[in-house]
Amino acid sequence: MSKLLQIFSSRRTWAWPYVAFMAMFVVLPLVLVGVYAFTDIEGHFTLHNFAKFFSHSEAIQTFLYSLMIAVFNTAICLLIGYPAAYIMAQEDFKTPKVMAMLFILPMWINFLLRTVATVELFNMCGLPLGEGALLFGLCYDYLPFMIYPIYNTLQKMDNSLVEAAQDLGANRWVCFWKIIVPLSMPGVYSGIVMVFMPTVSTFAIAELLTHNNIKLFGSLIQDYITTTDLLNYGAVLSLVLLIIIGLTSFFGEHDAKEEGGGLV
């Protein structure tokens, strides 16, 4: 009894229930994705699912297309978001907090509802739904994820470095490219990761924004995984997505550690 008490009074053990919970509902499910990918429907080991993926041109095409859309969307968000973050981080900008708040506020509205509203907006303005609408909708949904980390790094940046550069004769342009951009790279990295990852794995949005005409990889996975017979093949597709996510987060790991997750 006293030993039991001792175990509980050592506070280290208080994390055990959580660790057990995570092992059960985070680690095991991820392992299961791998297990399902390497087995057939009766549970025997097979590589057939992978062979199917590499010979399934629709899946490969959708995958590449989704990657391309995600890259485009990330680039657009960066191009639009960086200037916004830069302006807000300027010293003479008077209401950065309110602005930052206003940029984040739309995220508190359910993203599906925002997507539907975007569709309606396009309809009312007489614009066609399709690739353009898809990119607009994605950019609209994920832009705050780009602005916020960049704004955070820029704001924390030591301004005396910029002043020093100016004193040493650098003009605004040189100063921006040689001082500000390199110093804001951690924020840019984490912004890229935070926009790219949800975009590449997105589903549901694409169907609404394109009247079901364009299918992204996420929707493809959804189709297969919810069909009982094709569950194992769906697991392969998920595994492919998981690898992409892993690579992306590895890319963000080095520089984005402090900035990531700050956005809520």
Partner: protein, 453 residues
């Protein structure tokens, strides 16, 4: 504060032309009358004349129905009961006269048809339809709404005023000395940069808020289809609060609240205990658990959802409320851990031991020493968990099973795919937005006050 007002006003202004756009006007120049079935049966001859055709549109998704089909049906069955039945079978909102088209000539309505028709918003199809029925040598133009002209005029006037100002100041500048000119130039450049960047941010915000403004504005009209302004009305708000809205929506709201509360309570308890444990671990262990903690945060919803779905399938769990709650706890708890940890590192680590030394049981020490220090972190974790849970779509979608359980997100999804939003969602989200706005303002003011102190 000023900027919030500015934003509110500008987004509502933006909604005005959208409201005016709820119908589209075409100008038809009628060709030879002989084959003109569109305007047949009228005493006048319209050959060579121009008439306006005003069309109200609405969205109908996924339906293999074109306007041509719809109008052809109306022509064949006009005035008969079967029309209404047909409309109802296609779309459950058809009992309202949402869409129709009227023909105007010299500001007088001469023909009014298809009031109960729902059409796709395929404008092109409509144009084809009119042209194919108006006889040869007819031509059709889409008229631009007057509000766009007003916008264009304002833009032009603004540009002209700015140009005039520049011209005027340039002329005055010539009378100054070169030093004065230089300072003036610098000042002007600074001003230009300032206003340019302000303009950029505001344009971005307006685009960002336009769809939201659309929802908010159209929550004050009775129209069942978003985008059709049928006059000011609070009916949707009344429906929402008196439970007269769609039964599916009511149960979705109910489930969303229940799931969010269960998930937030469980994850707050689990996460707080875990945070205390992690804080007291040795460096290596701590690193490992922290990594584990970050996995659900890095994973996109679809991966979390699918992996849990596979787990439940493998274990043979029947999916429903319980599985959704577990899934929500999975992705909420890491955030609770992260919001409690900073509070722990801020408190004196010895107080807990002191309490134990003074004879308190661990439970007492936890309740009386640690909780008072930790509760702000727990509270923010709890609120975070609530909002994450309410907002989630991906994970819920894969773990809700097929038993008819819907949360707000999944309800919106299936609703939108069916071809239209349940109208009561509009007031609901307007209210949520307002509550969020007020909460954020209050937090902001509170933080500022604390800083000053």
């Amino acid at each position: 504060m000023r900027s919030i007002w500015l934003l509110a006003i500008s987004s509502w202004l933006l909604a005005l032309p959208l409201m005016a756009q709820s119908h589209i006007t075409y100008e038809l120049k009628v060709g030879a009358t002989g084959e003109n079935t569109l305007l047949a049966g009228f005493p006048d001859s319209y050959a060579g004349e121009k008439v306006n055709i005003r069309v109200q549109t609405a969205t109908l998704e996924h339906k293999p129905l074109t306007l041509t089909d719809a109008l052809d049906f109306v022509f064949a069955n006009e005035g008969s009961e079967s029309l209404r039945a047909w409309g109802d079978s296609i779309y459950h909102y058809t009992d309202e006269a949402e869409v129709g088209w009227t023909v105007w000539r010299n500001k007088k309505e001469i023909k009014n048809r298809g009031q109960r028709v729902l059409v796709t918003n395929a404008y092109k199809t409509f144009e084809e339809y009119i042209l194919s029925h108006a006889g040869p040598a007819s031509s059709l133009n889409r008229k631009t709404g007057w509000i766009w002209w007003v916008f264009a005029a304002l833009l032009l006037a603004g540009t002209a005023a700015y140009g005039g100002y520049i011209f005027y100041s340039r002329r005055k500048e010539k009378e100054l000395t070169s030093v004065e000119q230089e300072t003036l130039r610098r000042k002007r450049m600074g001003l230009r940069r300032h206003y340019g960047s302000q303009l950029y941010l505001w344009l971005l915000l307006i685009v960002l808020y336009a769809p939201i403004a659309l929802i908010a504005v159209f929550s004050f009209t009775k129209s069942k289809i978003l985008g059709n302004w049928t006059g000011f009305s609070m009916d949707l708000y009344v429906n929402l609060f008196t439970g007269k809205a769609d039964a599916g929506l009511n149960s979705a709201i109910w489930y969303t609240v229940v799931i969010a509360l269960i998930a937030a309570v469980c994850s707050t308890l689990l996460g707080t205990l875990a945070a205390i444990g992690i804080y007291n671990m040795r460096a290596r262990q701590r690193k490992m658990v922290s990594f584990l903690n970050s996995v659900p945060m890095i994973n996109p919803d679809i991966i979390t959802g699918i992996s849990l779905f596979l787990l439940f399938v493998a274990l043979g769990f029947s999916q429903g409320l319980a599985t959704v709650c577990i899934a929500h706890v999975v992705f909420c708890t890491p955030y609770v851990v992260l919001s409690v940890l900073p509070r722990l590192s801020r408190m004196n680590p010895n107080t807990y031991e002191a309490a134990l030394d003074l004879g308190a049981t661990p439970a007492q020490a936890l309740r009386m020493v640690m909780l008072p220090e930790l509760w702000p972190g727990m509270l923010s974790g709890f609120i975070l968990a609530l909002t994450l849970s309410v907002d989630d779509f991906g994970v819920t979608f894969f773990t809700k099973g097929s038993g008819g359980l819907e949360t707000l997100s999944t309800f919106i999804y299936s609703d939108a795919r069916k071809g239209g939003l349940t109208p009561e969602l509009r007031p609901l989200f307007t209210i949520i937005l307002l509550v969020m706005l007020v909460a954020l303002i209050v937090i902001n003011i509170h933080n500022n006050k604390q800083k000053k102190e």
